[in-house]
């Protein structure tokens, strides 16, 4: 989890209160990763334990300002300079679903089409959100989500083309692709 390092990155800009860290974290990431205030304080106390941040005096309202330490800066820089391993990410349910549909002998094409339409809707929403994005950090986050949705669409198109060409999963010939004469229009139903 990158909450630790995310908080360190914000603290590298100057001392902050816990509630400030929470709202800045959400503003930067476009609230795709909502934090509750409890997570922020738990993380801060661990950072304090590890010597990466130092708390100041409590003020009249009982609030504490946190400051990043030299060790904290080093940790943040180490994190920024280390690439994220793809295997650290969770398995993609869609990939498993499609593989299982094929393995189970079910027709994967309706799965592909339904997903493509759903992902396109999500992509449309992201594109609209982009128009209202505030600041470059939010735009980068939205861009990342747009590129990921785009990659999924391309992969789905690819799957459809590969499955259409594969005799095992092919129910009807693709009329437009098939070079042989007499392969009539495919009778499979559309949505």
């Amino acid at each position: 989890m990158a909450i630790r390092q995310g908080l360190l990155a914000l603290l590298s800009q100057g001392p902050r209160y816990g509630y400030q860290l929470r709202s800045e974290f959400e503003a930067s990431t476009g609230a795709i990763w909502p934090l509750n205030i409890g997570q922020v304080y738990t993380t801060l106390s661990r950072l304090e334990r590890d010597g990466l941040v130092a708390p100041g005096e409590q003020d009249a309202q009982g609030r504490v300002v946190y400051t990043i330490t030299e060790a904290g800066r080093a940790e943040m820089e180490r994190w920024l300079s280390t690439p994220v391993a793809r295997s650290d990410r969770p398995r993609d349910e869609l990939v498993v679903k499609l593989a299982m549909a094929v393995a189970a002998g079910a027709d994967p094409r309706p799965v592909i089409r339904a997903q493509r339409t759903a992902t396109m809707r999500a992509l449309q929403e992201l594109t609209r959100a982009m128009a209202g994005a505030e600041g470059p950090a939010q735009r980068l986050v939205l861009d990342s989500m747009i590129f990921q949705a785009e990659a999924e669409q391309r992969w789905l198109d690819h799957c459809e083309a590969v499955l259409a060409a594969s005799p095992r999963t092919q129910e009807t010939p693709e009329a437009t692709r098939s070079p042989e004469p007499g392969s009539g229009p495919s009778p499979d139903e559309e949505f």
């Binding site: 089409r113 493509r116 339409t117 992902t119 396109m120 809707r121 992509l123 449309q124 992201l126 594109t127 747009i146 590129f147 949705a149 785009e150 669409q153 391309r154 198109d157 459809e160 083309a161 693709e174 009329a175 437009t176 692709r177 004469p181 007499g182 229009p185 495919s186 559309e190 949505f191």
Partner: protein, 234 residues
């Protein structure tokens, strides 16, 4: 909303060739695009995307079914009337821009208006207005003195000049990089919000996502759409 479409395709079929060699490019497609709407058409190569666009713009005629542009059924028009309608009401933006290299940006935009019989002076002022609106600050430059993104802007200005409300765009982001491609879509979106109807063919999901509605073509039929269907596949 579908009451007054700028372009309507009603049960349109287009077959290339005849007899045993006949290849259906489009089969029973119905689609309306109203003013202010951006519709994207996606689909694999050979799914009929470009055929659909050519039919919508009167560049090709359907084998059966009817295409109506601004209330005029195209099948009832003479070749001359059709040419006039295409010139006055339809703007085309293609991947290979088709800007004339020996004319400046402004002259390229003026050209369709002058062909319409508009006086050079008026055509010039119309061109200056639309070029300024889309952010071309040096309309006296020639196409090869402009960047790819600027050239595409000029091509869009040319498609928009006059009273054209229907914009047909075939892969208008062609070889552009992503930020420049986004700019092109932002521009099309703005024109749409100002009342144009845009039909966009693209294979890039990123650009299709700017549309109000995305239609997926497959084997010449509408396989799916991201909106409550105004159209049906048959």
């Amino acid at each position: 909303m579908s009451f007054d479409p700028v372009v309507r395709l009603a049960d349109v079929t287009r077959v290339h060739g005849d007899g045993p060699q006949a290849v259906p490019a489009l089969r029973g497609v119905s689609l309306d695009v109203v003013a202010g709407e951006l519709v994207a058409v996606m689909g694999p190569s050979g799914s009929g995307k470009s055929t659909l666009l050519n039919l919508a713009g009167g560049l090709d005629a359907p084998t059966s079914g009817e295409v109506t542009v601004e209330g005029a059924p195209l099948s009832g028009l003479s070749a001359r009337e059709l040419a006039a309608l295409r010139r006055r009401h339809v703007g085309y933006v293609f991947q290979d821009l088709n800007l004339i290299p020996s004319l400046t940006a402004a002259e390229n935009v003026m050209l369709p208006r002058e062909l319409d019989g508009v006086r050079a002076r008026q055509a010039r002022s119309e061109a200056a207005e639309i070029l300024a609106e889309i952010g071309i600050t040096e309309p006296g430059r020639f196409p090869d003195e402009l960047s790819g993104g600027q050239r595409q802007r000029v091509a869009i200005a040319r498609a928009l000049v006059g009273e054209r409300r229907l914009i047909l765009a075939d892969e208008p982001t062609g070889a552009l990089d992503t930020p420049t491609g986004d700019d092109v879509l932002r521009l099309l979106r703005t024109r749409c919000d100002a009342g144009a109807a845009v039909l966009l063919v693209t294979h890039e999901p990123r650009y299709a996502a700017w549309a109000d509605r995305v239609v997926f073509l497959r084997d010449g039929e509408i396989a799916d759409s991201t909106a409550a269907p105004l159209e049906s596949a048959r």
